[in-house]
Symmetry: C2
Subunit: 120 residues, 2 copies
């Protein structure tokens, strides 16, 4: 491949992975959804997480609903009232989803690193 | 991951890889560009290849120009006149680009297959 190029050292192999329904009707997890979950952990709020990603509040809710609708237990829960005045929490299942995705993402990065090192 | 899901057997890991400039200013090759090259081989015409992909002629030309501008030798050449009345050819370098990408794509598919087999 590199023998074809004017600037062979300026290119690299990159990519993305995600987890989706096999029938293609919906995604379950991808880089954006994981970033959203992490920002909900950080901010305790879907609206603040959406803002941090420059994403609309509606879009963020749609993503959260998509994830929650596919799991046995919700990944994100919204509490109203109570002593703390409510808030949004990423559940233990949500934290596991983040961790599992990151393990997968790390192996994908290792794959890309190896392919880039071998790229001729 | 699967332990979280209502329908654990309906999900799979998928993804995409592409080759781009490290500074992010342009892509060199990806699935769509390879499909375009293959269709130019098949049809001997950028306009017919574009039509087969439901892509505008302008978009197809832009992609061809992007690839050609990054290589030492063009991947696609357009001949005008001559006995055959002109036509568009994918060069030996273009054919190599297709082959090299497919080898990479096959290794990526093997990676995804293995990850899907191990997905818990």
């Amino acid at each position: 491949m590199k023998n074809l190029l004017q600037n062979p050292n300026e290119i690299s192999i990159t990519g993305a992975i995600w987890i989706e329904r096999q029938d293609g009707t919906d995604r379950f997890l991808g880089k954006g959804r994981i970033e959203l979950l992490e920002l909900i952990v950080e901010h305790g709020s879907i609206s603040k997480a959406a803002k941090a990603m420059e994403m609309s509040y509606k879009r963020a809710w749609d993503l959260v609903n998509s994830m929650n609708s596919q799991t046995l237990q919700p990944l994100v829960i919204t509490q109203t009232g109570g002593k703390s005045g409510g808030g949004t929490l990423v559940t233990a299942e949500g934290l596991q989803a983040i961790d599992d995705y990151k393990v997968l993402q790390n192996r994908f990065q290792a794959f890309l690193l190896q392919e880039n090192q071998c790229l001729k």
